[in-house]
C-alpha cells in the first residue's frame, strides 16, 4: 500500500507541476503573444527606421539641388572676377598714352 501510494506520488507530481506550469504561464498563448509582440515591436522599429530612409532621398535631393545652385553661383562669381581682371587690363591699356 505504501509502495503503491509512493509510486502514485512519483508519477503524479511531475504531471501536476507541468500542468501548473502550463496554467500559470499559459505557455502556448503567451508564446504566440510574445512572438506577435516581437513581430509588432520589430515592425514598429522597422517603420521607425523606414521613415528617415523614405525622407532621406528627398533631403539628399534638396541638398543636391541647393549645392547645384551654389556651384552655379560660384562659377558665375569666378567668371565675373575674371571679366573684371580683363576690364582692368583694358583700362590700363587705354590709360597708357598712345599719343595724339
Amino acid at each position: 500500500m505504501t509502495v503503491r501510494r509512493s509510486a502514485r506520488v512519483v508519477l503524479l507530481a511531475p504531471v501536476a507541476v507541468l500542468a501548473a506550469s502550463l496554467i500559470l504561464t499559459g505557455c502556448s498563448s503567451l508564446g504566440t503573444t510574445s512572438t506577435a509582440a516581437v513581430t509588432t515591436t520589430s515592425g514598429a522599429s522597422s517603420t521607425a527606421t523606414a521613415a528617415p530612409v523614405t525622407s532621406s532621398p528627398s533631403a539628399a535631393a534638396d541638398a543636391s539641388t541647393l549645392n547645384g545652385i551654389a556651384a552655379d553661383l560660384n562659377a558665375a562669381d569666378a567668371a565675373n572676377n575674371e571679366a573684371d581682371a580683363s576690364a582692368t587690363s583694358g583700362d590700363q591699356a587705354a590709360a597708357s598714352s598712345d599719343g595724339p
Binding site: D62, T65, L66, G68, I69, A70, D72, L73, A75, A76, D77, A78, A79, N80, E82, A83, D84, S86, A87, S89, G90, Q92, A93, A94, A95, S96, S97, D98, G99, P100
Partner: protein, 239 residues
C-alpha cells in the same frame, strides 16, 4: 625704441620695394611716363631714343597680353584667334618699327616712323583695349550668364516644389535676378564682335569708338554681380 623704429623703417622699405618690383610684373602696360613731345625740330638721336623706349614698352605689354589672353579659357576660340592674330601682328609691327627707327638716317624719316605708333598701330588704344573688352564680354556670355540662368532656373524649381518657402522678398529677389541676367545678356549681345571690329583708322576718326563697348561691358558686369548677389540671398533663405 629707436632700434624698433629702425627695424620698422627697414621693414616698411623692404615691403615698399617688393611691391614696387611686383607691380610692373603684373601690369600689361609699362609706359608710366608720357612719351616725349617730338616735332620737326627734334634731333634724330632724340627721336631714336624715344622710338626705342616706346616700341620696347609696347613689345613688353604685347608679350604680357598675348600670354594672358592665350591662357584665358573663357574666350571663344574664334575671338581668341582674332585677338591673337591682331596682337601678334602688332608685336611683329613693333619689332620691325623698332629696328627701322634705329636704322633711320634722317630725323624726318625717323619722326614719321615714330608717329606711326600713334596713327597706324595704336597698340594700347585699340589692339589691347579691344582685346580685353572682348575677353570680358566672352567671360560673361560664355560662363557667368549661363551659370546664373542655371541657378535661377533651379531656384524657381525649388520654389515651385515647395510653395511654403515662397515669400514676397524671395519672389522679388528672383525677379530682380532674372531682370539683371536679361539686361546683361542684352548688353553683351554682339559686344565682343563690336569691340574687335574697331580698327586704328576707326579710332583715329573717332576716339570714342570703343567707349560704348567699354560701357556696355562695365554695365553687364555690374548686372551679373548683382544677379549673383540676389542668387546667394535666395540660396541662404532656402537652406
Amino acid at each position: 625704441m629707436k632700434r624698433f623704429a629702425t627695424i620698422a623703417t627697414v621693414g616698411a622699405t623692404v615691403c615698399a620695394l617688393s611691391l614696387a618690383a611686383a607691380v610692373p610684373a603684373m601690369a600689361d602696360t609699362t609706359s608710366t611716363t608720357p612719351p616725349p613731345k617730338l616735332n620737326g625740330t627734334s634731333s634724330l638721336a632724340a627721336i631714336q631714343a624715344a622710338g626705342a623706349t616706346q616700341t620696347a614698352n609696347r613689345i613688353t605689354s604685347l608679350n604680357s597680353a598675348i600670354a594672358k589672353l592665350t591662357a584665358k579659357t573663357t574666350l571663344t576660340s574664334s575671338d581668341k584667334a582674332t585677338i591673337l592674330s591682331t596682337l601678334n601682328a602688332d608685336l611683329q609691327g613693333m619689332d620691325g618699327l623698332q629696328a627701322k627707327i634705329a636704322a633711320d638716317t634722317t630725323a624726318a624719316t625717323a619722326l614719321t616712323d615714330y608717329r606711326s605708333m600713334y596713327t597706324v598701330w595704336r597698340v594700347y588704344a585699340v589692339g589691347m583695349r579691344q582685346s580685353y573688352i572682348a575677353a570680358s564680354a566672352d567671360g560673361l556670355t560664355g560662363t557667368a550668364i549661363p551659370r546664373l540662368q542655371s541657378a535661377a532656373t533651379k531656384i524657381a524649381a525649388v520654389l515651385a516644389a515647395k510653395p511654403s518657402k515662397i515669400t514676397p522678398a524671395l519672389q522679388e529677389q528672383l525677379a530682380d535676378m532674372n531682370a539683371k541676367i536679361a539686361d546683361a545678356s542684352a548688353k553683351t549681345n554682339g559686344l565682343a564682335a563690336a569691340a574687335l571690329a574697331v580698327t586704328p583708322a576707326g579710332f583715329n576718326a573717332n576716339h570714342s569708338v570703343l567707349d560704348t563697348p567699354h560701357a556696355n561691358a562695365q554695365a553687364a558686369r555690374a548686372d551679373t554681380k548683382a544677379a549673383a548677389i540676389d542668387g546667394r540671398a535666395i540660396l541662404a533663405a532656402l537652406r
